[in-house]
């Protein structure tokens, strides 16, 4: 049985199954996401952690043949975000995502961060400017780019681009921020900057992060879920999972015996 958490919940996943056409990629997933905490999803390649993460912002709806079963309840309004009745765009307005590879748009630094606001039809200039500046500050990028917000985003370094993508995701005040292996394309210095940033951000937003770097999960997260073959094997407080795992499989994975 999966551990119940006692803190305030931001989301609760109940009996989630997910299918790529005929292949079942996620099996009977139950999980609670604590509010303003960091939940890490770990597990070997192909275990379904990214698939699972992408359920939260309905990314799978972009491709034909994908199917969800079960519920992901978003609090406080108890909205089942994977219900076919709910428009994926409505979900993505509330839950932002940062991808594995930095993916800035072919626009200026400023317009990249302003993109979510523009998409929402926000045209008040001073408000957009304020939000962009605030988001860049939250993403610890403002000091580096404040003199070149009108430069193309491609001119930034890889680590800066990833922080730009974080700023872009933050600018619309999301309730949950999803990170899909956000540092796997970055060097160690840029990685530690991003990790530091993620830990800062949990004051303001609930975070779910997929990583196959176990040290990273141990360093940044409050809760950790270990996944294997589309199932959640173990879920608990991070220090518990890493120091006293209750399952043999979890222990084998975190001690590097497989994966």
């Amino acid at each position: 049985m999966v551990t119940q958490i006692s803190e305030g919940l931001k989301a609760e996943v109940k009996d989630l199954n997910f299918y790529y056409t005929h292949h079942q990629a996620l099996k009977n997933i139950h999980l609670q996401i604590a509010e303003k905490k960091i939940t890490a999803l770990i597990g070997p390649s192909g275990c379904g952690k990214t698939t699972y993460l992408r359920c939260f912002n309905r990314m799978h709806d972009l491709y034909p043949g994908n199917r969800y079963e079960g519920e992901i309840i978003l609090f406080p309004d108890q909205l089942n975000i994977i219900s076919p009745k709910i428009d994926p765009i409505e979900v993505r307005m509330r839950i932002s995502m940062v991808f594995q590879k930095p993916n800035p748009f072919p626009k200026t630094v400023f317009e990249n961060v302003a993109y979510g606001l523009r998409v929402r039809g926000e045209s008040r200039r001073s408000l957009v400017e304020d939000k962009v500046e605030k988001a860049l500050k939250q993403a610890a990028l403002w000091e580096e780019v404040k003199d070149r917000v009108q430069d193309l985003a491609f001119n930034l370094s890889g680590g800066q681009q990833q922080r730009l993508c974080i700023a872009r995701a933050l600018a619309t005040d999301p309730e949950i921020l999803l990170f899909d292996e956000p540092t796997s394309a970055l060097d160690p210095t840029a990685t530690s900057k991003i990790e530091e940033l993620i830990m800062q951000l949990k004051k303001e937003v609930t975070i779910i992060i997929v990583t196959h770097n176990m040290q990273q999960a141990a360093r940044v997260s409050d809760y950790t879920a270990f996944m294997y073959l589309g199932e959640i094997i173990e879920f608990d407080k991070t220090d518990k999972v890493f120091t006293h795992p209750s399952k043999k499989l979890t222990e084998d994975y975190i001690t590097g015996r497989f994966g």
Binding site: L62, S96, F99, N103, F105, P106, T172
Partner: protein
């Protein structure tokens, strides 16, 4: 014995290599030869007619008793018809490309693309008569003063003809935009429409620009449609309902006539041809430059 076989093999290999090299070079030599003839003959034309008259004269009547050699009417005729074709083909081509790349389900795409390619496979002479005998009479119902030969009708038809050139290259460059860029936009809550127009088109900009340039140079060089439906009247005008003559149509007209070889009238073909060549060359260089930029962004 063994050594002999090795030597004969070497000779064969060498022969094949030379043959391939020769084939590859022949296309270069032919191109250079064409350019050389064009410039050589055009140069001898400019011994008879001053470059100044050629570039600034407002009348083009080389076959009259008192010939005038101002290229402007042919250039404006070409630009007018091209302009109309561009107004038709670029927006429609771009919309088709956006639809095929971002909206169309796989099955629709499978059916639509061959049909679109069919549009490019119709012989241009058919398009010419389509303009003259079908579209012009229809347009005349709406525009009473439209003459039987005019710039408008072949311009529109040529635009339709060019749509597949514009759409296929644009679509390729939109499809080349990496999926994670697209997902980045959707993840921000953008709609398909917003993603296509705010992210994909800017990201594919250099490819789309190249597609536009291919379309424009195709329109400038197109001969048959205008020769049939635009009239053969060198007319210095930008009014689309009047008959005009393009550079290409002039060249066809004179080539088919009985102008004696070596005369100034005869050499006008090369002067007009060189003008055409320089126009399309300029566009091709521009297009090449844009295409080179496609991959640079990612």
């Amino acid at each position: 014995m063994f050594l002999k076989r090795k030597i004969s093999k070497k000779i064969k290999e060498g022969a094949v290599e030379w043959l391939l090299l020769f084939s590859a070079l022949s296309s270069i030599f032919i191109t250079l030869g064409i350019v050389f003839i064009l410039f050589y003959e055009a140069l001898s034309f400019f011994k008879d007619v001053s470059l100044w008259e050629f570039l600034t004269g407002r009348q083009w009547t080389p076959l009259f008793a008192q010939p005038k050699f101002g290229i402007l009417p042919l250039v404006t005729g070409t630009l007018l018809v091209t302009g109309i074709a561009v107004l038709v083909s670029l927006p429609i081509g771009l919309i088709v490309a956006v639809y095929l790349s971002e909206y169309a389900p796989f099955k629709v795409k499978e059916v639509a693309k061959p049909f679109l390619e069919l549009l490019a496979a119709v012989p241009t002479v058919v398009y010419g008569y389509f303009a003259l005998l079908f579209l012009t009479p229809i347009l005349q119902k709406w525009i009473p003063h439209l003459s039987g030969f005019n710039a408008l009708s072949p311009g529109i038809v040529m635009g339709i003809m060019i749509i597949p050139y514009v759409s296929s290259v644009s679509e390729d460059s939109m499809k080349a935009v990496p999926m994670h860029i697209r997902e980045g936009s959707y993840a921000m809550g953008a709609t398909k429409f917003q993603t296509a127009f705010k992210v994909i088109i800017p990201a594919a900009f250099s490819g789309i620009a190249a597609a536009f340039i291919i379309g424009i140079s195709r329109a400038i060089g197109e001969t048959m449609v205008v020769a049939i439906a635009a009239g053969m009247m060198p007319n210095l005008t930008l009014n689309p309902i009047e008959p005009v003559q393009t550079l290409t149509a002039y060249i066809v007209g004179v080539s088919l006539g009985d102008v004696p070889h070596g005369t100034t009238e005869y050499k006008t073909i090369f002067a007009a041809g060189m003008t055409l060549f320089l126009m399309t060359l300029f566009l091709n260089i521009l297009g090449f430059w844009f295409r080179k930029r496609i991959r640079e962004v990612y």
